[in-house]
């Protein structure tokens, strides 16, 4: 197991190397003079030169690359032009917010997606199955910001059940957090639950056809045990790989959800950074988020191995 984790971490290194190179290159791909683009049209010549010097853009490219990696290894991704604070600190301050929201949404996704997928598979071709799949189809076709807006109109404006936006930290006031996070989490989760329900259903149908399910029935196990133990344990193997994709989509989705609900997470931070041409922040935020996602995927691979003894034992 340890060798598996080490090997996966090692195989993630080249990916992260390229990811960091792409991130580094971004600022140099800005058409024209990056310093002018960052400073804006109304900037004075002096301001432009300051930015150029601060970001090291006056150095030769190789020297810049060297500094990028030297700083990266020390956990330094530069300073945000907008916030004036280190990029790493700005990101780490916002990260718990996004993580809490994503975790909430992930739990909802798993609860709704797995349940409806399993039920649909067990009731294949009945109205329950069809209703679940129609909802899943609508779910995957509903843009999450549109769903969020509709929810705000309904639950915040019309019914006044929940606030239209804003954020209360979980540690400060769990009830308040729940009140501010529920709509964002649902608007993220319904879409992904649709995706998960479709995959769970097809995987379960595939597994339920397997010979070992017939064996489990032939030895007189109750139906509940056949489905919840024998079928689910096997269906979870492919489903776990989908969870990695779902987390990636959650992070993507949280960008717009956080902006929509005024939640001070990484998504909002990066959107603001892009709108204000705060390139160091964009680079750093992108790199950190992607790094986390790569770690999540390694975690998913490890879970995969834990669930499947064939992988676990052969390496």
């Amino acid at each position: 197991m340890t060798t598996l984790i080490v090997r996966r971490l090692l195989s993630a290194l080249p990916i992260m190397l390229i990811v960091s190179l792409i991130t580094f290159a971004m600022i140099h791909l800005i058409p024209g003079d990056p310093a002018v683009a960052i400073a804006g049209l109304s900037a004075t010549r002096e301001q432009v030169e300051n930015i150029r010097r601060d970001l090291g853009l006056d150095q030769p490219l190789m020297s810049q690359l060297w500094h990028w990696y030297a700083n990266l290894l020390q956990g330094d991704l530069g300073r945000s032009l907008l916030l004036g604070q280190p990029v790493v600190k700005a990101t780490m301050d916002r990260l718990p917010v996004t993580l809490a929201l994503s975790a909430y949404a992930l739990i909802l996704t798993l609860a709704i997606g797995l349940t409806s997928g399993i039920v649909a598979a067990l009731r294949q071709n009945t109205w329950i199955d069809q209703a679940a799949m129609v909802f899943a189809m609508i779910g995957i076709s509903l843009p999450n910001f549109y769903l969020g807006l509709l929810m705000i109109i309904l639950f915040a404006v019309e019914l006044r059940w929940l606030p239209t936006g804003g954020y209360i930290p979980l540690m400060q006031d769990p009830i308040g957090w729940l009140a501010t996070s529920t709509m964002p989490a649902f608007s993220l989760a319904l879409l992904l639950a649709g995706l998960l329900a479709r995959i769970t259903r097809s995987t379960m149908l595939e597994v339920l056809r397997q010979d070992y399910i017939r064996t489990a029935r032939a030895k007189g196990l109750p139906n509940r045990q056949v489905v919840m133990k024998h079928a689910l344990a096997n269906a979870m193997i492919p489903i776990v790989t989908v969870v990695g994709i779902i987390v990636s989509l959650l992070i993507s989705g949280s960008v717009v959800t956080e902006t929509l609900f005024s939640i001070p997470g990484i998504g909002q931070l990066l959107t603001q950074a892009v709108l204000n041409r705060d390139y160091p922040m964009v680079q750093g935020g992108l790199l950190i988020t992607t790094g986390l996602l790569v770690l999540v995927n390694i975690g998913v691979d490890v879970c995969y191995a834990l669930l499947d003894p064939r992988v676990r034992y052969d390496g």
């Binding site: 397997q210 010979d211 070992y212 017939r214 064996t215 489990a216 029935r217 032939a218 030895k219 007189g220 196990l221 109750p222 139906n223 045990q225 133990k229 024998h230 344990a233 096997n234 193997i237 669930l307 499947d308 003894p309 064939r310 034992y313």
Partner: protein
């Protein structure tokens, strides 16, 4: 009294092109401790017969159209799923053709045996483990106690089939249904598994229904043989009698191409032609289009299964005539 009495059993499947009968009007008896061989090509209805008795066919699309199954005096066709589930294991157990895929890959073999006992008996964990190890030893798994924590992929095909037998027999069933239990195995392993089944029959005293397309397997194991063709029983007799005096031309065809045990699987090539599709079976005798002795009358109606000698029935209009010829 016989252990199992099957009478005029017909199983139908709902398909996109209407209902088809996978097996029809099948009747037979099985006594305690007896070994009945059911033989026929793939698609002849022998596996459907087994799965119908086990109550393992998904309904729908499957449906018992008529007939009865009495097991130990109890009618199975009308039994609730809950009661049927209690019967699987201690009443009737089954092993399947594919040992490679019939064990759940994500659970240890110990767990898969233990849960079988637990589903039917109330035992302490220690007793459960002891029973499982004992059973593994009985099916010839060496160092059984340590193999309990092995996963199926760590075992060979022959060992997996032994584990399947252990799972099937651990609740001491009165009837074991073995559907092509050796077909997927190597030649030498085939003989070992068959020997093991015979030994276990002697030890546990259960009846066995062995399903195969291999006449060699029948000769090694069965007391009595039932031959099926296109969903119907065409001949039934004690094994020696059947091998000596086959009365149905199809049985004779099968016997002419008996492979040595373990020889290539689906090789019943001596009979020209193929099994008719269930949807378009010929009128009259279903074997007629492939039969060297068919005459016009053979297509007039279904030949009834008639007792032509003591304990020997066959469904052929010309059986007596051909016998004396």
């Amino acid at each position: 009294m016989s252990l199992l009495e099957v009478r005029n059993l017909t199983t139908a499947f709902q398909t996109a092109r209407g209902e088809i009968t996978a097996m029809e009007d099948v009747s037979f008896d099985l006594n305690p401790g007896e070994i009945l061989g059911i033989v026929g090509e793939s698609g002849s209805g022998k596996s459907v017969t087994a799965l119908t008795i086990m109550g393992l066919l998904p309904r729908p699309p499957a449906r018992i159209a008529s007939g009865s199954i009495r097991f130990g005096g109890q009618e199975l066709t009308t039994l609730s799923e809950g009661r049927m589930q209690k019967l699987r294991g201690p009443g009737i157990a089954m092993v399947f053709q594919e040992p490679m895929t019939s064990l759940n890959p994500v659970f240890t073999i110990g767990d898969q045996i233990v849960e079988t006992i637990r589903a039917h008996e109330n035992l302490s964990n220690r007793a459960l483990t002891a029973r499982a190890i004992e059973m593994l030893e009985k099916v010839g798994i060496p160092s059984a106690a340590t193999r309990m924590s092995d996963f199926p992929h760590q075992l060979s095909g022959g060992q997996r089939q032994r584990v399947m037998l252990a799972i099937a027999l651990v609740c001491r069933p009165k009837l074991l249904i073995a559907d092509e239990p050796t077909t997927a195995l190597d030649v030498t392993i085939q003989a070992q598994i068959l020997d093991l089944m015979m030994d276990l029959r002697d030890e546990f005293g259960m009846a066995i229904m062995i399903i195969t397309h291999n006449m060699g397997v029948i000769a090694e194991t069965a007391d009595r043989v039932m031959v099926m063709y296109a969903g119907r029983v065409v001949e039934e007799a004690p094994v020696m009698r059947l091998f000596d005096h086959p009365m149905h031309p199809y049985t004779r065809g099968l016997l002419e191409c008996v492979p040595a045990i373990g020889q290539d699987k689906e090789r019943l090539v001596a009979i020209p032609g193929t099994l008719p599709e269930p949807a378009n079976r010929p009128r009259g005798c279903r074997f007629a289009p492939r039969c060297a002795h068919a005459i016009a009358d053979c297509s007039a109606g279904l030949p009834p299964l008639e007792t032509l000698a003591p304990q020997h029935t066959a469904a052929c209009f010309r059986a007596i005539e051909l016998q004396s010829a």
